[in-house]
Amino acid sequence: MTSQSEANNRRTDGMAVDTRKSETLASSAFENRRPPRWRRILKTRNLVIGLGILLLLVLVGVFAPLLTPYNPYTQNYNITLLSPQLAHPFGTDEFGRDILTRVMYGARIDLKVGVISVISPFLIGILLGSLAAYFGGWVDSIVMRVVDIVQAFPFIVLIIAIVAILGPGLNNMYIAVAGTAWIVYARLIRSEILVQKQQEYVLAARAMGGSNWRVIVRHLMPNTVTACIIYSMADIALYILLAASLSFLGLGAKAPAPEWGAMITEGQSYITTAWWMSALPGVAIIITGLGLSLVGDGLSDLLRPRGR
């Protein structure tokens, strides 16, 4: 109880400080437009750590042949299912392949899948969303009804159904994602543009005779695309999870490929004897996901300081 009333006092104190702070801020607005450098760095700490993690993963993927003496595909039946040890820090699988090596090569596949997957939904969503918001009327109605319909399906069910029909494989996953995941970007940019299109700079651009296309691309998009860029970071992580899940369901990467999800799946048959086969590739996915969410949070702090 005491701590709660203390919290209460701190709140009232906090509010008093807040008013004072806003006065000081207003008066010092002209003195320093930019916050001190250390604060900017602190603010973007998430971004720095996240980018660090991602850079490390990219380097590991690119230089995998130099970093490990093993080949991710070569089978060696003398050393099957070894538990983690000095020569094989992540152990070996049922074919005697070094798991750490496969996880390192897997970075190439999974990072690529994440980045490639995000491109088409991002572009399609931004295009359709801005057209819907800018022109309104029937364009908006059609786009938003399609959004409603696609949204009604659970994402994974729709992806599975489309991949089922196109045939298994990562390429068909890209197509399925392009056809369905754009709705998030369309909704994000639409809501931003609906607000921005009444702003004076847009009215001015139109009054100066700017074509619709020019107003959208040169004026509206640069001011509204931030939310989509921030979201795309979380989205890349989502697609890496999706690709892994599809591999698990037998609809993604094919057997010998060292894709992380496929490796987890292979390990599932050995959970009673070789936990490391599933566990460690999963850790790689988590680290990648963490890197991406940190970059997303960091970008959000950096690009929209008032958005919190």
């Binding site: 919290a7 599975i160 992580a237 899940s245």
Partner: protein, 313 residues
């Protein structure tokens, strides 16, 4: 506008979406290049078999006529015939749907059990060690692949500790609950972070509102302020979120059913995909979408009852 009209309008708004869903599900199968029945019947099918199937299922008619048949069958609640099992799809789907629903309900239950205390504590003790711990843990659980979490929980709780079964559905109510605990927990670990975050934010927000200041200024005990005023209002967004999550869970169970070998509708969907049993794929996708829509509608209606501030515009 009153509540009755609001509900009616939401129902009317569903019509184009329902229509769109049937179009997508219908064309899903009909966009396959070539004759889908040739694909379904496989390599051993003779031309006569393909021709007879094509004729029997009306595939030699124009697309719009076929779509008309499809709609008519739907209205008659006829979801078609499974190619693989040779029985009506609905008789396959219905018992399995109950398994999926059970997993979804278990997930929601566990999500609430995990999220409520953590969300409330982390808001009341904002920026404390606990709050920071919860928030960092959430960042990790958010990016964990659900099937990986499932496998890890099996290794820990089923293989090492022998507390839960490795997989399966079991017999009898208590046994079912025991079998779906781990699948539910796996999914709940993925859903809880979102709920905890929402709960924490809405509690912190409602601390700053005028009615809380009023409650405090009239000398109300802090416990009563938190329980009677803050929580009552801060729970609203979480109810909506739970509804949306419930819809999404219909998809999430697909993977869990494969991890834990549960005989659910999602597992049926995956098996039918590999067996190229398209009528079942179609029906499952359709039913999943319908469930999402119904859950969303139910959420909106429940919300209109519990929050008197909802305007019906």
């Amino acid at each position: 506008m009153n509540r009755g009209k609001y509900i009616l309008r939401r129902l009317v708004q569903m019509v184009p979406v329902l229509f769109g869903i049937t179009v997508i599900v219908f064309f899903m199968v009909h966009l396959i290049p070539g004759n889908p029945y040739a694909v379904m019947l496989g390599d051993r099918a003779t031309d006569t078999m393909i021709a007879s199937a094509t004729h029997r299922f009306g595939l030699d008619k124009p697309l719009y006529v076929q779509y008309g048949y499809f709609l008519r069958n739907l209205v008659e609640l006829n979801l078609g015939q499974s190619i693989k099992f040779g029985v009506p799809v609905s008789s396959l789907l219905w018992p399995r749907l109950q398994v999926s629903m059970a997993v979804a309900v278990m997930t929601i239950g566990l999500t609430i059990v995990i999220s409520l205390p953590l969300g409330i504590l982390s808001a009341l003790k904002k920026d404390s060690a606990l709050d920071n711990l919860v928030r960092s843990a959430l960042m990790v659980t958010m990016v964990m692949p659900s099937f990986w979490v499932g496998i890890m929980l099996i290794i820990l709780f089923a293989i090492r500790l022998h507390l839960f079964p490795v997989a399966g559905w079991g017999h009898g109510f208590g046994n079912h609950v025991w079998h779906i605990f781990l699948p539910g927990l796996t999914l709940a670990l993925g859903v809880a972070p979102i709920l905890i975050r929402t709960l924490r934010n809405s509690i912190l927000e409602s601390f700053g509102t005028d009615y809380i200041k009023t409650a405090r200024s009239k000398g109300l005990e802090e416990r009563k302020v938190v329980v009677g005023h803050v929580l009552r209002n801060a729970l609203m967004p979480s109810v909506t979120l739970l509804g949306i999550t419930m819809g999404g869970l219909m998809g999430g169970t697909v993977i869990m059913e494969k991890v834990f070998a549960l005989p659910g509708a999602g597992a049926l969907l995956i098996d039918s995909v590999s067996a190229r049993d398209y009528p079942v794929v179609q029906a499952a996708a359709l039913v999943f979408a319908l469930l999402v829509i119904l859950v969303n509608l139910a959420t909106d209606i429940v919300y209109s009852f519990i929050d008197p501030r909802v305007s019906y515009d």
